[in-house]
Symmetry: C2
Subunit: 403 residues, 2 copies
C-alpha cells in the first residue's frame, strides 16, 4: 500500500476549538488524516481571536490548525444539522471539546453519532470530565490544573503557587485524547466496533502525580510545593549563575561525580551527605555548598562544562529566545519554521511523534473560516453548486476570507 | 470477537525503567496488553529503590508497573541475549528508555529488532532525543524541562524559576509514546510493516508552547515567567482567600459576569477595563480590584459560590489531601484505590483514557523482580524446567521475592 502518511485515508470530523481538542486533530493532520473542522458562525474557532495577529490572521490558530479543512455551518438550522449528520456517516472519528451537554444540544452527541455511524470512534474532551459534580462548571486549563492538585505543587513554599505560562494541560490532554483514539481505531480494525472516549484535563493532569498521591495515601502526609529545590531528591534544583539559572541533579550514584566536579572529594566520604536520604535532611546545607561553588565559577557555560565533564546531569534554564536558536533544537526539528500565506514564515514546536516510516514535517496550511465549504459539500456529500449557493444565501454556510 | 480489553492479545517487550517508559507500558497494560518487563540484575528497575517503601515494596514501582510480568535476565551473556532475541521474535511492540546508544550495546537496537521481527513496532524514549548535539547528555525530566524553555516560564518574575513537584514531563512523554505506538500498530494492521519511534521529553515538553514560540518568532519579544497572574489574559490568576488560593479567569465575554459577581456593575462599562487588551495594560489595578473583593468575602468557599453563581470560571487551588478526598475525584475515579499484596490498599491516579467499550479499572498486580522468569520462558519460548534451572544457576536468570 502506498500511503502518504500513517493516517492516510482516515477521515475525522472535528468540532474542536481553542487548544486541547485542536491539539488532538492537529496531531492526526500531521499523520496524514483528512480533517474536516466544523466551525460555528459567526466567529468560528474562538482561537481565531487570539494573538499573534498579522494581516487579520493569528499564529495561535495557524499553529494548531494546519492541514485541516474548514467548513462553517450553522448547526442551529435543520439544513445545517443535516449536512453534519451526512458527514458523520462518512467519517472514522468525531472529536469535540464543547462543555459537557453542548454536543447533545447541537445534535452531535454520542447517541446520535453511533446511531448514524456505529463504526465511528467519538472522543469528547472537557476540562473536568463528562460526569460528576464538577462536570458542568466552566473550565479552562488552569481551572483543571488547580482542581487536580497540580497548581498547589508549583511555586515557592512561602508564597503563592505559580502558574506555568504554557498550555501544559491543554496540549497534553490533546495527546491523551489522540492516544485513546489511536487504540480505539486499532480495536475497530479488529472488531468493526466504534466507541466513545471521555478524556479530561482533570484526569490527564492528575495522571502526572507520580508520588504525591501514594505518599499522602500511605503516610497521611500531604506533600506541597517546594520552590526550586526538590523535596525528595537532593541535590535536585536550580542554582543561580551570573547569567542565568542552572538545573543540577545528583542521585546517589552521581553524588561522588558532583563532589569531584566541585573539587570537593572530601564530601564523597562525608557521613553527613552520604545518601540521598541524609542529604534530604540537610537541604539548605547542600544547596549552600553547591551554590557557593557555582558562585566561584561565575557564568552558566563554565558551570555546565565542569558538570558535563563529570557526567553530572545539568541543564541551563533557557529563555524562549535561547531555546528557539539552540543548535540541538534546530538540528532535531524540535523547533521548526512553517509558512503561512498571511503570516509568512514563523517558528512553532515540531511534530513530537517521530515515525521512521514517514517524514516528520509535511507541508500543511491552515484554512480561513469556511474555506472548504464548497469542496467538502460537493466532494464528500455530492451537493451541486446550486444547492451550495442556496445554503450560503440562507445563511447556513458561512465564509470569512479575512481570517 | 470476545476481547477482555482493547489490547487483548498484543504482546509488548518492555525494557523501560523509572517513569517515562513505564508510563507507556502501564497504559498498555491497563488496556489489556500482555507486557513482559525485562529487568537487569541485580537491582532491576531503579524505581524499586524509590519511596514510599513498606515491607520491602515501593509504591512508586507498584503504581507504574501493575499488570506487567517481570523477567530478570543478564543481557551481558550470550544465553541471556538469546532469550531476549527469541522473545523479540514473538512480540508486537518493543519499548525502551535507556540513554541513547545503550540499547544497541545491549543487543536490542532497532537494527537488531527489525531483523529479528520486521513487524515489530519499536519505541525509544529519551530525555533529549536519539540524535543531535545534546542527545548523549545524561537526562532526567527537569533537565529536558530546562532545555525546552518550560522551566523558565514558571515562577515569579523577580525570583528563581519554580520546579513543578510532579512528573509532568515523564508522564506526558510516556503518553506521547503510547500515542505513537497506537498509530504505528494501526498502520501495521493495514500494511504489515513495523517501524521505529523516537520520542523525547524535550520534544514533548516543547510541544506545549502554545504561544511563546510564535510570539518570539513573529515579534522578537521573548516571553518569560509571570508568577501567578497571566501576561496575556487579565484577569487570569491566583487570589489569596483566607484559607487558600483561588484561580479566577474572565475572558472578554466573562468580564461583565465577574463585575456582577463582585457587585461592581460600574466596571462593566468602565472604558479603562473594557477589553482584555486594555486590562492587560493595567494588570496591577485589575488584580487589586479582584483581590479586594476576595478579601471582603473571606474564605474560598464563599468566593467560589459567588463566582459560580455568575458562571465565572474559578477553582480552588487544592492540596493533595483535598484533591484525594474530593467527591468529584472519587465519583469519577480520577483518584482510585488499588490493592497490593505487600503495601495493602492505597490511592493512585486513575486510568485517564476512558473507553466506553471496556471497564476503566481492571484488577492488576505488580510483580517482584523476575517473578515470571519461569512462566515466560516456558510458555512463550517452550524452555523446559531443567533448562530454566540451569540458566538460574548460571546467574543468567535472577529473582528477588523481597521486592
Amino acid at each position: 500500500m502506498n500511503l502518504k502518511h500513517i493516517l492516510d485515508g482516515y477521515k475525522v470530523l472535528d468540532f474542536t476549538h481553542a487548544l486541547a481538542g485542536p491539539t488532538t486533530t492537529r496531531l492526526m493532520a500531521e499523520m496524514g488524516a483528512d480533517i474536516v473542522k466544523v466551525e460555528l458562525p459567526p466567529v468560528g474557532d474562538m482561537s481565531r481571536l487570539l494573538p499573534i495577529k498579522l494581516n487579520g490572521r493569528t499564529s495561535y490558530f495557524v499553529q494548531q490548525n494546519r492541514g485541516k479543512k474548514s467548513i462553517c455551518v450553522n448547526l442551529k438550522t435543520p439544513e445545517g444539522r443535516a449536512i453534519i449528520h451526512d458527514l458523520i456517516k462518512q467519517v472514522d472519528v468525531v472529536v469535540e471539546n464543547f462543555s459537557p451537554g453542548v454536543a447533545e444540544r447541537l445534535g452531535i452527541g454520542w447517541e446520535t453519532v453511533k446511531t448514524l455511524n456505529p463504526r465511528a470512534v467519538m472522543c469528547s474532551i472537557s476540562a473536568l470530565g463528562q460526569q460528576g459534580p464538577l462536570s458542568e462548571l466552566p473550565g479552562f486549563d488552569y481551572i483543571a490544573q488547580a482542581y487536580s492538585g497540580i497548581t498547589g505543587m508549583i511555586g515557592e513554599p512561602d508564597g503563592a503557587p505559580s502558574l506555568p505560562m504554557i498550555g501544559l494541560g491543554d496540549v497534553n490532554t490533546g495527546v491523551h485524547a489522540a492516544c485513546a483514539i489511536g487504540f480505539a481505531l486499532l480495536h475497530r480494525e479488529r472488531t468493526g466496533e466504534g466507541q466513545y472516549l471521555d478524556i479530561s484535563l482533570l484526569d490527564s493532569y492528575f495522571h502526572c502525580h507520580e508520588i504525591n498521591v501514594a505518599m499522602y495515601s500511605l503516610t497521611g502526609k500531604s506533600p506541597t510545593r517546594a520552590g526550586h529545590h526538590h523535596f525528595a531528591v537532593c541535590p535536585l534544583g536550580l542554582y543561580k549563575a551570573g547569567d542565568g539559572y542552572v538545573c543540577i541533579i545528583a542521585l546517589d550514584h552521581q553524588w561522588p561525580s558532583l563532589c569531584e566536579a566541585m573539587g570537593r572529594p572530601d564530601l564523597v566520604t562525608d557521613e553527613r551527605y552520604k545518601t540521598n536520604a541524609l542529604r534530604c535532611t540537610r537541604v539548605p546545607e547542600v544547596v549552600a555548598i553547591v551554590q557557593a561553588w557555582v558562585d566561584s565559577l561565575g557564568d552558566t557555560e563554565t558551570v555546565l562544562a565542569a558538570l558535563e565533564k563529570h557526567r553530572v546531569p545539568c541543564a541551563p534554564v533557557l529563555t524562549i529566545e535561547q531555546v528557539c536558536n539552540h543548535p540541538h533544537m534546530l538540528e532535531r526539528g524540535t523547533v521548526r519554521k512553517i509558512n503561512d500565506p498571511k503570516l509568512g514564515e514563523f517558528s512553532t514546536p515540531g511534530m513530537p511523534l517521530r515515525f521512521s516510516g514517514f517524514p516528520n514535517n509535511i507541508p500543511l496550511e491552515a484554512a480561513y473560516t469556511g474555506q472548504h465549504n464548497d469542496a467538502v459539500l460537493s466532494e464528500m456529500l455530492g451537493y451541486d453548486a446550486a444547492r451550495i449557493k442556496a445554503l450560503r444565501e440562507a445563511g447556513i454556510l458561512h465564509e470569512n476570507e479575512d481570517t
